[in-house]
Amino acid sequence: MPENIVQLEIFEGPLDLLLYLVKKEEVDIYEVNLTKIATQFIDFIEQMRQLDLDIAGEFLVMASTLMYIKSRELLPVDKQAVVDDEDNEDDPRWDLIRQLVEYKKFKDAAGQLQVKEALQENIFARVPGKPDFEPEANPRRLSLSVFEIIGAVSSILKRYHQREESRDVFADRWTVSEKIESIIEFLKSKTVLQFSELFGQATSRVEVVVTFLALLELIRLKQVRVTQPEPFSEIEITEAPPEVVPMPQAGNGSVPPSEMVDPNTVPELPFFPH
């Protein structure tokens, strides 16, 4: 059996070699003629020995087991050890076949794992590179509003007008305090005031500025609430509910609480020239 020698390397152990020999017989593992298989196995080991090849210890152990099985069969039937059908534990043939069956199953399981191993190399998980929001729901557009720009403009204008105070920029007709008053009046008659409405009646640019400053001051004092119902829609101004009005304490422009709850009372604002 020269081909066996060539294939020696591929056998994982004596059980693997035995399985190979069984498979060559093309019969069921339980039907196999163990004596014949044993002869083939021992021949195989013998050839290896003659070729001076290293033989792993496991193969020699198996060879001796098979020789024992074979020798038992050579005895006349009446001299054979009586095997109790109810207790097969001592039957070396059965031990070997049970071991072979078990090994065969795990070898098959290993084969299935190998298929899964190869398959897994071709499985790619979806890893989105960045959040795939719908454009409308893009959080970039929602968490920061244009009101920050308004606030920034407010600060600029405050400082600017403080610096320009002496230059008498504003016409005498309009003061921030008056405008605050008129916005509050406006809101009494109309629950919602559109941002553009606020400036609709302005007769001059100066009035626009003064109106805007008044609005900013009311926002700061939380007298009015300014909302943008949805992105790009018009800004709406409503009267702030009294319960959410915080009490401004110390600092520039602080207003006595009593005046805060009364929307008719307009606080004096030291910021702006009158």
Binding site: P131, F133, R140, V146, E148, L157, Y160, V209, F212, F232
Partner: protein
């Protein structure tokens, strides 16, 4: 296996939106590596075929009515979520989508540039009353403002304008979307004497100029700058 299924798989697994051209390149590069007849046959896939397949996929996914669909944004295809799930997705992604907020000086400077663009650094400083070097640097680095050429005045100083990213950052369609854009642009601001002289010469007496309104008073100069048409809203 058909082309449609392959394209879907590519789009589903891609980490970024893909154009038709990029999809074609994936098909071609895969064909080059392969000896499979079918894979090779896709090397010759035409753009029209891909467009057709994409249109079919888009429709199939819309009809499927799942929590995601196929969308084409600016010529690039990708699977996107339905907007209604944003609350959970923000939690999932930790809402770390935005860069840190701008500082107060940053916002003020940005506001001035937004309403007065194109504007020189000297004008910004004149309005804010302080030097803006550091702030300008930040805004330029963040891509919110950019150079807008040199002003035709003495010294030819650099001017600045806001970018498309600025509009995106604030969720604005265009510069008209700035709050009270019309009114605020006309807030009178005294120009520095040097600039005033130059501007006054450049624009002698044109009281009403559509688009670019310039009123020249004795000591007040009002400049209205409508959004340049080229910067019309970011396509989303």
């Amino acid at each position: 296996m058909e082309l449609k299924s392959i394209i879907e798989s590519i789009l589903f697994t891609s980490q970024k939106p893909l154009t038709v051209r990029e999809m074609r390149e994936v098909l071609s590069a895969t064909a080059d590596k392969s000896e499979d007849i079918f894979i090779n046959s896709l090397k010759k896939t035409k753009d029209e075929e891909l467009q057709q397949v994409l249109a079919e996929l888009e429709q199939e996914h819309t009809l499927a009515g799942r929590s995601f669909r196929l969308a084409c944004v600016a010529g690039a295809w990708q699977f996107v979520n339905q907007a209604e799930h944003a609350p959970w997705l923000k939690t999932l992604l930790g809402e770390k989508v935005r860069p840190p907020r701008l500082s107060q000086p940053g916002l003020e400077t940005l506001a001035i540039i937004a309403y007065r663009q194109p504007v020189t650094r000297a004008e910004i400083e004149q309005i804010r009353g302080v030097a803006v070097d550091g702030v300008m640097q930040t805004l330029l680095e963040r891509g919110l403002v950019e150079n807008a050429g040199r002003a035709e005045v003495v010294g030819r100083p650099m001017t600045y304008r806001t970018t498309v990213e600025f509009l995106e950052y604030f969720g604005l369609k265009n510069l008209e979307g700035l709050p009270a854009a019309d009114e605020l642009r006309r807030i009178p601001v005294t120009k520095p004497k040097i600039l005033l002289t130059a501007d006054a010469e450049a624009i002698p007496d044109e009281p009403k100029l559509q688009g670019l309104d310039v009123d020249v008073g004795e000591d007040q100069l009002s400049v209205s700058l409508d959004a340049p048409p080229s910067e019309e809203g970011p396509s989303l």
